[in-house]
Symmetry: C2
Subunit: 342 residues, 2 copies
Amino acid sequence: MKRTNQPTINDVARIAGVSKKTVSRVINQSPLLNADTRKRVEDVIAELGYVPNPQARALALRRNFLIGLIHDNPNAQMVLNVQQGMLEVLRDTEFELIVHPVNRGSPTMLADIGQFLERQRPFGVMILPPISENDQMAALCGELGVRYVRMGSAPLDEAPHMVASNDREAVRGAVEHLIESGHKRIGLVQGPHGFRSAFERQKGYEEAIEAAGLPLQRTLIVQGDYKFESGMRAAEQLLDLAPRPTAVFASNDEMAAGVLHVARQRGLNVPQDLSIIGFDDTPIASHLWPPLTTVRWPIATMARAAALKLVSGEGGTAEEDGEASLFVSTLIRRASVAPAAG
Amino acid sequence: MKRTNQPTINDVARIAGVSKKTVSRVINQSPLLNADTRKRVEDVIAELGYVPNPQARALALRRNFLIGLIHDNPNAQMVLNVQQGMLEVLRDTEFELIVHPVNRGSPTMLADIGQFLERQRPFGVMILPPISENDQMAALCGELGVRYVRMGSAPLDEAPHMVASNDREAVRGAVEHLIESGHKRIGLVQGPHGFRSAFERQKGYEEAIEAAGLPLQRTLIVQGDYKFESGMRAAEQLLDLAPRPTAVFASNDEMAAGVLHVARQRGLNVPQDLSIIGFDDTPIASHLWPPLTTVRWPIATMARAAALKLVSGEGGTAEEDGEASLFVSTLIRRASVAPAAG
DNA sequence: TTGTAGGCGTTATCAC
DNA sequence: GTGATAACGCCTACAA
């Protein structure tokens, strides 16, 4: 950044023949201002192309206009949808979005985040799952006085700090859909251990099975880690079973794609021989063959709500603070589910 | 952000019994400093947990430590890979990444970007394709004194402002691979009109066809727009041809997935009846069945190089400015290509 | 090697 | 309504 001769508030004040403070008042829409004066100042501002310096504002106001997005790359589409949702809200404000991925797994993760928060002192941060499930992180934000909103698969914080989807209910609905289609042996490809989303989705599966009076068989539940390959491994295991499950619910689309992949390799027809449901409704779901029945959760909507919570009240578009914090997911029915044979 | 009693440089100075300037020197690693004094100040800093305020620094230095990322959502995976690559470089610096998606199509796009640049005055910006192809944008950065690096499918700016892949060559290689496999009727699903990447990839296709002495048939070239559905439409058109093409090169993976999708619908076997090659090596490519042969370009590497160019010299890790600016893509051979039948 | 004075561009205080 | 004056936290002169 060179020495660009950007005009300052002083230039405006001098040329308009008023004091800095008056210009400041114009910028900040102070109501007690002579209309003439305001007009004059506004003209000068337009003429000079003056733009207030955010750094200086931040310094004087002892606060800045940065919203952080902290995540651990849960999946590209999700991160981007979140960014998009948040930016839709931020666009009309003076806030900017600064992204800060971290490395779950790293033992210094919490310290890293602490450093980030202390350095930048963002006005607020949005935390994506799975690290949003870490209560210490939330506590850290609290201590440092940084607003935060967590995104998760269940309400795990107070409403002002949370946007949650109800994964359990959504999965129950999905599995019920399979049951209604006549399936009795339904496999579950679980998400990784320790993830709240994985836990909730498993609970949803179990609730549906039990509510239908079907036996809950441990062999039908296989551990995955949300990655494609783990879906393949799980499928190997499930399809080796005798009798074979006639349907599989995978806790996310990637793993569902893995299941589909293996079914194909084995010469099975989907959905005739095996019905599959995924979760997330990532683009891959609709691009697979057959298109995947899956659960769509309203990520962008949740992100917008989160951004609104973060900037609401002081500083942002003074929106209702009572933004919804629980969002419902919907089952997207495509071609990967068929009635159970026999 | 509440009134947190974060210690300032003054607190440190007072407690350490030195002047602000001395503390400042410690922070900025000034060499001319008594070791004792330095030690004493450092101790106080550690004790207080003092962290310099970036806003104040930015103000005093008349520059900030923000790197912008401007894009128009070309595709989620790519944007995220870029973010990751850039952040790897930025992590060890005092720079932060601030993302700024824009809306190509919007008539006010250029104005929007101008506003963003004038408000934030980022130290530098990275511009992703396709908007990186817009020369006016680059000019705008130049005028405003904002460093910039463009990412593109061909060198369309001077080295310090460019990280480019050589799409033409990469595609030529891919199509040659098809030709070597015995294919003579090879379809092309083009990218959208006006995109440099689309143009380069088409040229690569044409060069390979011509170099092999094959006829360049206009009916084998179908327009797409980089989206899945357009790949499907293109496939419909290509597969209606008589005789049918035995192979298709699609200018990106999403369209290739669309082609695969339609081939399936028509009961064609891939790759026996139809070979397909895509471009990008997005996750979808390896998750499809059969896994897609495609061209991988080193996005993260390019992003790292770009970030290095942006922060190099003044302010950043004083790296060589002579970072590479042309990167080679490689053909990833998977299962969607087979020798031509007959 | 260290300190003093002044400025970066903005806002808050408190007079007029 | 408006304008001096003093912050905000840091850095660059220039002295000492």
